[in-house]
């Protein structure tokens, strides 16, 4: 698999295809048993998650996983844990609030008490706060209302336009393929198809298997 700088790459496939495992291997939560993961010339295979964060990769985990008993602001501060540049951090908090105005209104609310869509915004904002070169996102649209899905998709595109590379894992293949530049189709741990996202969207096999006909 190749992910070019500044692009959105999506991994689609059924449950158990290995999408989440792939993302977890990239950010060091799992260690690959074979193969190599290279990022900016660094081998990530054996690095701990906190080291990988330092290299500039952020992870929006499956199921959002905000820190439930911390406020929205504290969640964002944790995203910037390794950074020391206080002014830039403050600017980035404003940047996150620009993307997600509702978070600014709820700055002191405990993240665990928010709706699913708002928690997704907190999780994405937290990832942005490390000023990453690349963000891996695991099912950001899962369990959200259709309107919220579109909102999240719009923001993913915005984040990407500002130069952040994105790897997107989605059950919602239609949404993923319309966002992405490139796509990989996974099945039980193997890449079975790859190519331009627009082309894959028109591929008959993909249509049948993942886009509902």
């Amino acid at each position: 698999m190749d992910v070019e700088q500044g692009t959105i790459v999506t991994l689609i496939g059924n449950n158990g295809a290995g999408k989440t495992t792939t993302l977890r291997a990239i950010t060091g939560l799992n260690h690959p048993s074979s193969g190599e993961i290279l990022f900016d010339g660094h081998n990530l295979n054996k690095l701990a998650p906190e080291k990988i964060n330092r290299l500039g990769i952020a992870h929006v985990p499956e199921g959002r996983r905000v820190f439930p008993q911390m406020t929205v602001l504290e969640n964002l501060e944790m995203g910037a844990y390794l950074r020391k540049d206080k002014n830039a951090i403050r600017q980035d908090i404003d940047m996150v609030f620009n993307h997600f105005p509702v978070l600014k209104e709820r700055i002191k609310q405990l993240a665990g008490t928010m709706s699913g869509g708002q928690q997704q915004m907190v999780a994405m904002g937290r990832a942005l706060m490390s000023a990453p070169k690349m963000i891996v996102m695991d099912e950001p649209s899962h369990g959200l209302a259709p309107i919220m899905c579109l909102e999240i998709a719009r923001i993913i595109r915005e984040i990407n336009k500002k130069g952040t590379t994105i790897i997107l894992v989605e059950q919602n293949a239609m949404l993923a393929l319309s966002l992405a530049d490139r796509a990989y189709v996974l099945d039980t741990g193997n890449v079975i198809l790859e190519g331009d996202a627009k082309e894959l969207k028109e591929n008959d096999d993909v249509k049948k298997a993942y886009l509902g006909g």
Binding site: T27, G28, L29, A48, P49, E50, N53, R54, A58, H59, P61, R65, F67, P68, Q69, M70, E74, E77, M78, G79, Y81, L82, G112, R126, S130
Partner: protein
């Protein structure tokens, strides 16, 4: 009960609760971050008392200095415990339990070897005299424990809610994997938590040294009550541990005064059983989603 006895008992309860609180918050903190119970926490308390015995009684250092010294010394013991026991047994709950249970005996025997078993260490009371209220006499030595405990609880609260690494500690307790994804080193955080737990237990022991018989086994009884407190308060909840310390402190002291210490322990365990039936997550515990 006479008024003077009542006042005396209330004052004793407050002192006892303060000691429980400084111990229980450390226990809850360690449990929150590591999901492991440190059985040797009572021995940290005992070692704190021996620091005072050694520095104050034997070496003749001023008492406040000896108490302060217990903080870094026992914090170091806590850090060593993290490094040598909790970190290698991470993910293996049974091994961790066995190892800290073993550590309690090792520390008891080591102290017994160094200073003798069964011998009470007589520590002269540095602050003599008492405060007389309505016929009750409350010794200064006991009274100073209350403000010190309040100061310690406030300092921990400030650390957890206003200092970056303290916030990271809370993040680790809530979701260690995601905390690591933010660049937080879990090992550094558990080391910090065990330093605080150890240091606080050390201070508690140091404060009690002139009041309680100092023996290698003095940590044993108090740690059982502290476990009850942490369970009643809600395992990982610091606020719950403080609240439960005061509830248990009062129940325990009143029961001991009115009946005896066996009844007091029974009452504490009965309360724990009741809480576990009515509110299994503890008074201020959170149910994990």
């Amino acid at each position: 009960m006479e008024v003077s006895t009542l006042i005396q008992t209330i004052a004793n309860s407050l002192v006892q609760s303060s000691v429980y609180a400084t111990l229980a918050i450390g226990l809850a903190l360690g449990f929150g971050v590591m999901k492991m119970a440190n059985f040797a926490h009572g021995e940290f308390y005992m070692l704190g008392a021996y620091v005072v015995f050694f520095l104050y009684t034997t070496w003749g250092l001023p008492y406040p200095l000896a108490v302060l010294a217990a903080l870094p010394i026992i914090a170091l013991v806590g850090m060593l415990t993290e490094r040598l026991i909790f970190r290698p047994t991470k993910g293996n709950v049974l091994a961790g339990f066995m190892a800290t249970a073993g550590l309690t005996f090792i520390l008891q025997v080591l102290v017994g070897q160094a200073w003798g078993v069964g011998l009470m260490r007589a520590i002269e009371t540095p602050y003599k005299g008492a405060w007389e209220v309505a016929g009750a006499f409350i010794g200064w030595q006991r009274l100073i424990i209350i403000p010190v405990a309040i100061l310690m609880i406030t300092a921990l609260w400030y650390f957890l809610y206003h200092v970056k690494i303290g916030k990271a500690l809370r993040a680790c307790a809530q979701d260690p994997e995601v905390a690591a994804l933010q660049g937080i080193s879990i090992n550094k955080i558990t080391l910090t938590a065990m330093a605080i737990a150890g240091g606080y237990a050390g201070i508690a022991g140091a404060l009690m040294a002139p009041i309680q018989p100092v023996t290698p086994y003095m940590g044993h009884d108090i740690i059982i009550i502290c476990f009850i407190i942490v369970i009643v308060g809600g395992m990982e909840s610091i606020a719950g541990a403080v609240l439960a310390s005061f509830i248990l402190g009062f129940i325990h002291t009143f029961m001991t005064t009115l009946y005896d210490s066996i009844v007091a322990i029974m009452a504490g365990v009965a309360l724990m059983a009741l809480i576990l039936i009515v509110k299994p997550e503890g008074l201020l515990g959170k149910v994990k989603a």
